[in-house]
Amino acid sequence: MQECNIELTRQVHGGGFWDFLKFDSGTSNGAREDGNALGAGCGTVKSDAYVPDMMFGIDVSQACFQHDQSYSTCGFSRLTADTNLSNNILNDCKAQGGNALTCNVIAGVYGVGVTLFGASAFNQAQAQSCN
């Protein structure tokens, strides 16, 4: 039987047990760690450091960035954009090994978040893109 040390296990599965508790905005020292500009993930330039791009160890940054780009597409339906965000998080979470409960919680949190706080962002993005 092959023996695997803990670091090897982490490399294969992408994290350890405590990664379930991992929350990360993907920023440090006022800049995004992936090298993109602030706001290229979950949150805007002002809120990027507070809104997690990783929740319960699940990377949701691409679902957020796609949602931002949907809002910025002239004529795109806000309802469709918000529904896509929840569905994308749900599917992407499962693809990253998240369990059903975790994935539904994350999709629910972001879905409720954009429903409650997305109106002004949507209106602003539409105004910018349709000019």
């Binding site: 507070y50 990377d59 002004s120």
Partner: protein, 206 residues
Amino acid sequence: MYQEQQVNRLHTYLKQFGSLVLGFGLLFSSGYAAEYFVDKGHVDGVSGISFEIKPPYLNEKKAFNLRAENLSPWQLQQISDAMPFIAAFTNAQLGNGVSPALLPASETKVRSIRNIQNLNSDTFLAVKTIQNWQITAQQIQFNIDYFYTGQDGHFVFFRDNYIFKSNKQKWVFEKHAKTEPEGVLVCEKSPQGWRVCVPLHRAKDH
């Protein structure tokens, strides 16, 4: 030793979680929530060079990867000058609500990601990052990583390569850097939990 590492890890995560809860609480209770979730753009400074991350094409400009590569101030200035043109080009390539007929004549020789991947007009194509910069006085070479939601509901990532040339104070698409795009990317989670993507053929080599 291992237990001590795990406990330290737990403490770190709990601190991060606490900070986020506190941050959210302050944010929503302050009455400035709307202000924090509306992006009007900003000016970003990288190694002393200013980048106007502002509309139009705000999200395409945000996708410019300027920090992960060790670019000199001169190279950054070249990218800063070219940013509005590359962002507009990227937006046209996404083709979300933009008729291909509206593309400038010079861009008709550009490979269409939608055609290559057989994407219909309902599929929303997004940009993940613009990176791998190679810069000379006359030209800028880079990759664009695109992504979309595939039929099985999972994200599909796709990379293509481009060369822009300077022409009368403007930067315009000249040609593709390679005869073929890098194509579909394979993504894995890094030990830190972030998605890291490499071209499929390179992944097979490993």
